[in-house]
């Protein structure tokens, strides 16, 4: 315990952990914001994990073909959008059970990425993992020189800045535009919106596809910014954590930001301790306990928010006109 505290109280370590938290929060934030928009339209998309995996893979493949990072980024977004288009087709048009569709797509996304990956690199042994160059961090001139704050916030990847920028953008979209009002209304009561002459189907499609694009971006951050690699469990549960963050953040953009940072912090802390080889009180070397924490906190938040829940009232309930 004492060792852990001495380690954690070193300024350089603190800065490292905070910067790490911001970096780790990036894919969570991207995916959670996208999922939040989708859920606001009443569509629960459980396939985030699969979409992220696919995004990471598409980015990686495009990079290894074209040797162009921006091409990788583009392919990740496109693959995320196409994949979630399947989700939209199944849930909005065919109206199948959203939970079932989401879980099925998850398996499909991960399986597909893995299969294609193995068939592309079948001549290599599983230990010899191919790597590609990654995005460099981009220091923001001036701001990155501010002590502490500059190192934590302004020496990050472009995608990180983009993710943070999306927080106010999504908020404005949902709260200040006609489209956002309509989207939120659909999530609460699609029938009422239909009766007001709002075309529900294109709006739900757009929301789900936006969610897919954001999850794809979250995924490509993992392969082309964090690691320069692809491996099948690259998402490592982040899609599920993003889903938890939406609940934790009570469907509000600002809280989702705090949620992502908070879970990023937990992970950064864990990594720092692990790297130092310090053992935890009670849990020893079982760093996996940290993996459970986001879900524990989400359940606690769910209980605390019970009476103030902003969960869309018609979340995951398909709408059929005129069925009463």
């Amino acid at each position: 315990m004492g060792e852990i505290l001495t380690h954690l109280l070193t300024p350089a370590v603190i800065i490292g952990i905070l910067a790490g938290a911001v970096r780790i929060a990036t894919p969570l934030l991207l995916a959670a914001l996208g999922e939040m928009v989708s859920e606001n339209s009443g569509i629960l998309n459980l396939s985030i994990e699969g979409t992220m995996t696919l995004g990471a893979f598409a980015g990686f493949m495009a990079m290894s073909w074209y040797e162009n990072l921006w091409m990788g980024l583009l392919m990740a977004v496109v693959s995320g959008m196409l994949f979630s288009l399947i989700m939209a087709l199944m849930t909005v048009t065919v109206k199948v059970n959203q939970v079932v569709a989401g879980l099925a797509l998850n398996i499909l996304g991960i399986g597909f990425a893995f299969f294609w990956f193995r068939s592309s690199f079948q001549d290599r042994s599983s230990l010899d993992v191919p790597t590609v160059p990654t995005f460099d961090t981009a220091d923001i001139p001036g701001l990155s020189r501010i002590p502490v704050v500059g190192e934590v916030l302004f020496s990050q990847h472009w995608l990180t800045y983009f993710a943070f920028l999306m927080v106010p953008m999504v908020w404005i979209l949902l709260n200040k535009t006609r489209y956002g009002l309509e989207l939120r209304s659909i999530g609460h009561n699609p029938e009422a919106c239909d009766m007001r002459g709002i075309n529900i189907v294109p709006r739900q499609y757009a929301a789900v596809v936006f969610g897919g694009a954001m999850a794809g971006l979250g995924g490509v951050f993992l392969s082309l910014a964090s690691t320069g690699m692809f491996f099948p469990d690259i998402a490592a549960g982040r899609g599920w954590i993003a889903l938890a963050i939406v609940i934790f953040g009570n469907w509000r953009a600002s809280w989702i930001l705090w949620g992502s940072l908070f879970f990023g912090l937990i992970d950064a802390l864990q990594l720092s301790l692990q790297a130092k080889g310090l053992s935890l009180p009670f849990f020893g070397d079982d760093y996996q306990v940290f993996l459970a924490l986001p879900f524990v906190f989400t359940i606690v938040a769910l209980v605390l928010n019970r009476s103030r829940s902003r969960s869309p009232l018609s979340l995951a309930i398909p709408y059929h006109r005129g069925e009463r």
Partner: protein, 525 residues
């Protein structure tokens, strides 16, 4: 038949429209000409097909057969969006709003023309509309927390906000106070003066007589006739609708009250929104007595109902049934003591909409005697009871196994009534028992309430329908702001006095009091 009283010509022609649902022909070659600038009532029994026809006019359903013509042009609609585009608006029988959102947000959904929300402008426009028609509702209030009466106003103003040519209203008066109805009719008359056309569905024949220019009567999906209101009487309409003579005021010899059955003593019940709580309400019901609780809804009726059936516990005070306290008992326990109840909100509190009709008919008794044994439901008794109820209450459903959701509004109410009246209750707590029922069904339900009383049951009847209160009650209690404001007998009072009490004005009739009561139709609940 003479040409309609207004000279606008046919604006909407409904030409041999048919619509079939699984097991029912809801509209059977319906033809009606709606004239420009008229108020046209649609009348018909529960399940006659009024809502279905209205939904067809609003693009919700597509007719299987037949056609619509708007100003002579064929009108084909694939969704309500097309109807709105064609200048047709509709207020639905069951509310269609977004509960967690504000009044203002609800009003502008689908009606805001700019990409960026301009709440300031929208607020001004809504306020103007409220001012024009003299209705007061807070634009920032969360709609889900408003009273049903206020919610009904929001539904109406949501439609007015569009600025349309034809307005369809499906039973808008069911939850309005008498003053609210007057206010609504004032609005409709002004719309007519401005050349707008109104299609109004209501079961209240005196409203039809008061407001409409012409009436179309539907029966089992077919048009019986379209007539000028001036040429018919209430009786004629009722006969056309039900096919027999209807008694509006059922025979009531009065009860012979026995021992004290229910005693409510100074109870306080808080409500979440802070409105409609009980502030020390006391009341008694004797065996063989109907006590009518008159009052504008939102003055604590829901809290009283919930406290009596055991859904909400009073924070202080005592409720005794046959001498024993029932405070703190579970709803199930209270029901087993012989308390039957009909809630005011039939969809949320009265039924499980996705269950079959026969399942809803035994809901609450599904675990006991004839219907279940060894924890399993027994088919025969359940089916037998369903068949009996459907016959007795003339519940219109293709079969007892149909999903309850598909029933018409009035038939939903009949399912609850059938269930609650069938168990020979000691005490019946009924809230708006005839809301949405056609005249024939309402007559039947009222007769049954009197029958139960004559068999010795005590009945607590909460209703906004003063005619119903006067007709049935042995004693009338007026509820206002969570207390009983006054208590009297039907013979010792009149509508006017009760109306004043309901507005919170105690006796001593003076001129100032009378005018104060008329303006608050919407402001009060």
């Amino acid at each position: 038949m003479t040409e309609g009283s207004s000279a606008g010509g046919v604006i909407l022609k409904i030409d041999r429209v048919s619509k079939r649902f699984p097991g029912v022909l809801a509209n059977d070659a319906v033809s009606v000409d709606i004239e420009q600038g008229e108020i046209h009532c649609l009348l018909g029994e529960n399940g006659a097909g009024k809502t279905t026809l209205a939904d067809i006019l609003y693009g919700v359903h597509h007719p299987d057969d037949g056609a619509l013509y708007l100003k002579g042009e064929p009108l084909r609609m694939s969704s309500p969006k097309d109807a709105i585009g064609a200048g047709i608006g509709m207020v639905h029988q069951h509310f269609e709003f977004v509960p967690p959102m504000s009044v203002l947000e609800n009003v502008i959904i689908g009606a805001h023309s700019k990409q960026w929300l301009d709440m300031g402008q929208a607020r001004r426009r809504l306020q103007e509309l409220f001012d024009t028609y003299d209705v007061r509702v807070d634009p920032d209030a969360e709609v889900g927390r408003l009273s049903v009466g206020e919610q009904q106003w929001i539904e109406i103003f949501k439609t007015l906000y569009f600025g349309l040519e034809i307005l369809i209203l499906d039973e808008p008066t069911a939850v309005l106070t008498p003053q609210g109805v007057e206010q609504l009719f004032g609005i409709l008359r002004r719309m007519r003066e401005n050349g707008l056309t109104v299609i109004l569905i209501t079961h209240k024949l005196n409203e039809v007589m008061e407001i409409s220019d012409r009436v179309t009567v539907l029966r089992r999906g077919k048009v019986v006739d379209t007539v000028d209101t001036a040429d018919v009487t209430r009786q004629d309409l009722a006969r056309m609708m039900v096919g027999r003579d209807v008694v509006f005021t059922v025979e009531n010899e009065g009860g012979t009250p026995g021992g004290l059955l229910l005693e409510v003593d100074e109870i306080h019940v808080e409500s979440e929104s802070g409105r409609g709580s009980l502030e020390g309400l006391s009341l008694t019901v004797r065996e063989g007595e109907i006590v009518g609780v008159a009052g504008v809804s939102g003055n604590g009726q829901n809290a009283l109902f919930d406290a009596l059936v055991g859904v909400r516990e009073p924070s202080s005070g005592e409720i005794r049934l046959g001498g024993g306290s029932i405070v703190g008992l579970s709803a199930r326990k209270i029901a087993s003591l012989g308390v039957a109840s009909v809630p005011g909100d039939r969809i949320r509190q009265g039924l499980v909409m996705d269950f079959r009709v026969k399942e809803n008919l035994i809901l609450g008794r599904h675990r006991s005697k004839p219907y279940a044994s060894w924890g399993l439901l027994r088919r025969r008794p359940v089916d037998g009871f369903a068949k009996q109820s459907i016959d007795e209450f003339e519940i219109m459903t293709p079969s007892a196994a149909h999903v309850t959701r598909t029933l018409s509004g009035g038939n939903l109410q009949k399912v609850i009534m059938a269930r609650e009246l069938s168990q020979a209750p000691k005490l019946l707590v009924v809230h708006q028992p005839t809301r949405g029922l056609d005249v024939g069904a309402a007559e039947y339900v009222r007769r049954r309430l009197i029958q139960e009383r004559d068999k010795g049951a005590g009945v607590l009847l909460m209703s906004e329908d003063l005619d119903e209160i006067f007709n049935l009650s042995d004693r009338i209690a007026v509820i206002y702001e969570g207390r009983i404001m006054a208590e009297t007998r039907p013979g010792d009072t009149d509508l006017e006095e009760i109306g004043l009490w309901m507005a919170g004005i105690s006796s001593e009739p003076d001129a100032a009091g009378a005018s104060a009561s008329s303006g608050n139709g919407a402001a009060g609940e």
